[in-house]
């Protein structure tokens, strides 16, 4: 089997953004001094009138986006996930309370900005966004899905938070399979344990499922590219079948996918669970070393599944 293509979701986002700007004239790109990192140089050069760089000023980025949305544009406001949350007050009142359609893009999610260390690791953004009424949260599994998710986010209604990754990750989803916000998918069927994952942890869960199979354990993998609204039906169905759930994400253990799934299952389908997630601040290090140390890699997912068996 050939090695899969490696591509960062932020790259796919930047490409989709430029394509969308070519297709429709209501897209306005907004950033806070991170055009290169967010792969927004093409749209900057091609559509300077519809490109806004507010400088290092995330609150203003979100406020300006709210005004643009009120004028009928679709603002796509992008910065690092770790900086997006400093504009939380503006997101809360101007985007979510006003219930405006805007796409807020948080890149370099989780510890994917690994070498930059703890200050640059975004481990709380999903928790912040989940607390907001009206907010949709999308976290694609790979670059294919990121391009599709970007289109879906622009076509959606209301506020959308799109979480992206800095690190290139394996491309494994089918580009021809339609992407629908709010849907989770069983990407590998199994009977003994459900690995419910979001973002790059979907690929790690598929790796973990292979390893578990070698040990005679049949793992089902459920990809959750929309964290809010959560596809409770697909997740409870899998939990009812396997009776064991491991969640996996590159985010704090508090308030992310694991919390969302635990809350849903506690109400609908109480199930034994383990949550693979980060339980401390991040730190500097090569990406694969860091996720191993923080126990959010495929080895950690296998270990969590075995605890339940």
């Amino acid at each position: 089997m050939s090695e899969p293509e490696m591509k960062a979701t932020r790259q796919a986002y930047g490409e989709a953004l430029t394509e969308l700007a070519r297709e429709r004239d209501d897209i306005i790109a907004v950033t806070a001094d991170l055009a290169e990192s967010l792969r927004m140089l093409d749209i900057r050069d091609e559509y300077p009138d519809r490109y806004i760089d507010v400088g290092v000023a995330e609150s203003n980025m979100v406020g300006v986006s709210a005004g643009l949305s009120m004028m009928g544009y679709v603002p796509v406001a992008a910065t690092f996930a770790v900086f997006m949350t400093r504009a939380y007050d503006h997101i809360r009142m101007q985007i979510c309370q006003n219930n405006l359609h805007a796409v807020l893009v948080g890149s370099h999610g989780g510890v994917s900005n690994a070498l930059d260390g703890g200050s640059a690791n975004a481990l709380e953004d999903i928790a912040y966004m989940r607390a907001l009424p009206n907010m949709t949260i999308v976290y694609p599994s790979d670059a294919n899905e990121a391009g599709q998710a970007m289109r879906a986010a622009v076509d959606a209604e209301g506020p959308v938070y799109l979480r992206l990754y800095r690190e290139p990750t394996p491309v494994f989803t089918d580009p021809d399979k339609p992407f629908e916000i709010g849907k989770a998918h069983v990407v590998r069927a199994g009977t003994d344990v459900s690995l419910v994952a979001t973002g790059p942890q979907v690929a790690f869960s598929l790796e973990a499922a292979e390893a578990l199979e070698a040990d005679g354990v049949s793992a089902e993998v459920v990809a959750v590219p929309t964290i809010q609204p959560l596809d409770v039906e697909t997740i409870t169905k899998s939990a009812a079948k396997t009776k064991r759930v491991v969640t996996a994400e590159d985010h704090s253990v508090n308030g992310g996918l694991g919390s969302a799934v635990a809350e849903a299952l506690a109400e609908k389908q109480p199930t034994s669970m383990r949550r693979v997630a980060v339980r401390q601040f991040g730190e500097s290090g090569p990406y694969y070393d860091l996720i191993k140390k923080l126990k959010i890699d495929s080895t950690a997912i296998v270990a969590a599944a075995k605890e339940l068996l």
Binding site: I28, D49, R50, I52, V54, G55, A57, S59, N60, V62, G63, V64, S65, A66, G67, L68, S69, M70, M71, G72, Y73, P75, D89, H90, R92, M93, Q94, Q97, N98, N99
Partner: protein, 270 residues
């Protein structure tokens, strides 16, 4: 309306704002009163293009009350202009009322931007002004802010950005009533002044006026519309203007108006 008629209208609407705050036994009368003359100039003096019968008219100018706590004054203006019934003001801060404690987009005709958390309105106004420019529309965006609000860092993110895009369709008005919750602004934050020099340094068109002088307000807005860059009008006002015991009082940022105080306020505004 001439200036005398505008002054009478301002007095009448101050009464409405006090009535609303008295009914609510809550709210922020201090700023509702200090902002009133500028609001009357905008909504009755012909400066703000608007149509109460068609609040989303494409030709309308935009008004953002960034210091949302001043809303009992603004609501009184909107009601009197016919955006909604004046009787609705008596429901201020009540459950299911359109007249929310702070402005909430969509809760009332004419209220387009939520506010209450300070330091956000100017950014939204920039987005509106930018969108109007893109659409090649001539409408003007007015953003009212408080002086205490100038202490928010996010205000200065917006102040710094607006001249970059030469948003000459953006007019900010600072209601400099010199007081904030914890007391006199010059004591809470001595570094705030001189505000005018700060805006000049950020390349804004700057005017300083007496915010209770309708003639000065009128000419300042006319002048601001002619500027070839974003404009700010620093409107020197008195917190609680028109009500004797509220004027310059450290106690009247917010609070419940007692019966005898209400009688006094009505006398003062008669």
């Amino acid at each position: 309306m001439n200036n005398q008629e505008l002054a009478e209208k301002a007095k009448e609407l101050r009464r409405l704002a006090i009535d609303a705050c008295f009914a609510a036994q809550s709210g922020h009368p201090g700023s509702a009163l200090s902002t009133m003359d500028v609001l009357v100039s905008l909504y009755y003096g012909g400066h703000l293009k608007h149509d109460p019968k068609n609040p989303t008219d494409e030709k309308r100018d935009y008004f953002v009350l960034s210091n949302g706590h001043a809303c009992p004054g603004w609501y009184s203006v909107l009601a009197d202009r016919g955006y909604f019934p004046v009787a609705e003001l008596q429901n201020l801060r009540q459950l299911d009322a359109g007249v929310q404690g702070h402005p909430h987009r969509g809760s009332l005709p004419g209220v387009e931007v939520s506010s209450g958390s300070l330091g956000q309105g100017l950014s939204v106004g920039i987005g509106l002004a930018f969108g109007l420019k893109l659409k090649k529309m001539p409408n003007t965006v007015f953003v009212m802010m408080s002086d205490g609000e100038q202490e928010e860092g996010s205000t200065w993110e917006a102040v710094m950005y607006a001249p970059k895009r030469k948003l000459d369709n953006l007019i900010a008005i600072i209601d400099k009533n010199q007081m904030q919750i914890d007391g006199w602004t010059k004591e809470v934050m001595p570094g705030l002044d001189p505000i005018a020099d700060k805006y000049r340094a950020f390349n804004w068109d700057v005017q300083e006026i007496d915010g209770h002088n309708l003639g000065e307000i009128d000419s300042a807005i006319e002048q601001a519309k002619k500027a070839d860059k974003p404009s700010v009008i620093i409107s020197q006002t008195v917190r609680g203007q028109g009500v004797s015991f509220m004027e310059n009082s450290e106690h009247w940022h917010a609070g419940a108006i007692k019966d005898d105080e209400y009688e006094q306020a009505k006398k003062d505004l008669a």
